[in-house]
Symmetry: C2
Subunit: 343 residues, 2 copies
């Protein structure tokens, strides 16, 4: 299987995040992608290719131009208003506040286009963000050209980013952008299977009213886990999209038995949907040693996960999402891919 | 004029806030209230009285029981989930997320009931928060008993807190709670005049559908200033409340001439409304040296402000809000009161 990777991801490094009551090192860091790449090379998964550069129009098929513009220009505006360091939002449009106008000033704009305080924008973040979307788009292009499976080693991740909001370490929704490109290039139906520990709230939001994309997500119960305000079992889609969204919120401590049983139900739904292509939002923070997650998957379960996805028999684009047990992130992510390949 | 004050305010001290790209000392700190009290005593404004303790029912006339409960129990839940330090929210219910259910877990709950990341809850915050509301309620009670003017030296401040969300250094909306008590005790109409540099988004939100409370706010244009997503000139109230909300967003650099001209228009509207009582949300961050604000008022303008409010000829409750030029906060706040008293 080919891997798409760009060293540009290193251009995004969070100075830290305010969680657990203190400002501390961010869990989402460049070492993650490097260790996955190392593992890809160690197991000789296949060629590692750089991304092509796609136009911004391919990105604004999913995200609003205003949000994309904010990601591009936020840090320059931040500096222009006498700040230094990374641009952090600090206030958000709450219930009862207006969402019909975009604030002119940088702090307002950052809050308007985001939903948490752990996703800062540095001077060089945009290049990493754009490149991560290109990594996903290049994977989509290869699938379209006939590859049966491709690994888009995206960083920063994407599944928390919605149409017009970044957050949860995510800026652009790489999986959604790749999915839209596959549809634009001729696919009729795509299933997105999100196996990250966290609900793919952004992806759900983006496709919630559509029947050409089936979104299936297995994740920590939002009653207990980020993003808290989306990802419940009763969210089935709206309008034309009703019936094309399926969430499996699972409790802390979920083991492979329970997790894979839910996956089996999800896979059945995908088979019934009969997609042309499957896009996997591949997060490996379901691993038992993940520092911010509470599921209990072990190394071999990631291989088994890949085997199960393979049974769908569809062209499959793997898009890297989360995973914060950094030392073992390469083993877990690549196990899914080698499991898929049956080796 | 009597001042209501409680030393309990010291029980709330923010460990810091993530603004301007780094985690730094909070602008809202206990010294603020102490320096105002010192000035009250220096100028012999009048007796300084402790607050009475009111029931929580008086608070839930304004705020949802769920939000009040969160403020009370958040820090204990924070500790119970293996955290230390102050409880900070880190993610918020964004556009497209659900607001029909309250997350069970503490991080989700904190985000659900707040709108920024600079309003942390410490182990002892609740006692300060409750006491600040009591300071306002005691002021209301004295007005009701016939005092022509009372100064409720509240801290933490309140005007950013809405029905179900805290933020902007505010937890309970002291001015709104006092206003409701005055109405409960027989007043028919109350005008709230918010002279803080920032829009009183919480107060506006609370009374937006009501015609028994006229809300007038002069503040930095939300296009440029916190809270960014509310406080524009086209917000007039809704339903029965239409015509009972009046905002004067003013640009950076606004001087007394422009500011007082807007005040004069606001005062005319108050006269037309013919309130039984006037509640002043007294922020003095309009001062030219305020570190986070951009208006240009000088010491003597605060005296002139008090004189103008006096011309309404109504019983007046002053409720302390913001002001971060700490060294001079006592002079500015008390100048309004002595100006009102004509001395
Ligand atoms: Zn995740
Ligand atoms: Zn203020």
């Amino acid at each position: 299987m080919k891997t798409i990777f760009s060293p540009d991801h290193e251009l995004h490094r969070s100075p830290g995040e305010l969680i657990l009551g203190e400002f501390s090192e961010a869990f989402e860091k460049p070492e993650r992608a490097q260790l996955i790449l190392d593992r890809v090379e160690d197991v000789k998964l296949g060629p590692v290719l750089p991304p092509e550069a796609f136009s911004l129009e391919q990105i604004t098929r999913i995200h609003t131009p205003g949000m994309v513009d904010c990601l591009k220009t936020a840090h320059a505006e931040w500096l222009a208003s006498d700040r230094s360091g990374a641009a952090y939002p600090y206030t958000w449009p709450a219930r009862g506040m207006r969402t019909d106008r975009v604030p002119r000033e940088i702090d307002g704009k950052l809050g308007f286009y985001s939903f948490d305080c752990g996703t800062p924008i540095t001077a060089t973040s945009w290049q990493a963000i754009k490149s991560s979307a290109d990594v996903a788009l290049t994977g989509a292009k290869l699938i379209n050209e006939g590859e049966s499976a491709v690994f888009s080693l995206c960083r920063p991740p994407g599944h928390h980013a919605s149409t017009s909001q970044f957050g949860g370490y995510c800026f652009l929704n790489n999986a959604a952008i790749a999915t839209q490109k596959l549809l634009d290039d001729g696919a009729k139906r795509i299933a997105i299977l999100d196996v990250d520990y966290h609900h793919g709230n952004g992806t759900q939001d983006i496709f919630y009213n559509r029947d050409d994309v089936l979104f299936i997500s297995l994740h920590g119960d939002p009653d207990q886990e980020f993003p808290y305000m989306l990802g419940f079992a009763d969210e089935f889609g709206l309008g034309k999209g009703e019936g094309y969204n399926l969430n499996f919120p699972l409790p802390w401590g979920t083991t492979w038995d329970k997790w894979s049983a839910a996956l089996d139900v999800g896979l059945k739904r995908i088979i019934k949907f009969s997609p042309d292509i499957v896009v996997v939002s591949l997060g490996v923070d379901t691993y038992k040693k993940d520092p911010i997650s509470q599921f209990k998957l072990e190394h071999e379960h990631f291989s088994a996960m890949g085997e199960k996805v393979k049974t769908l028999g569809k062209p499959t684009l793997f898009v890297m999402e989360g995973g914060y047990a950094v030392a073992e992130i390469g083993i877990n992510a690549v196990n899914v891919l080698t499991g898929f390949e049956g080796r």
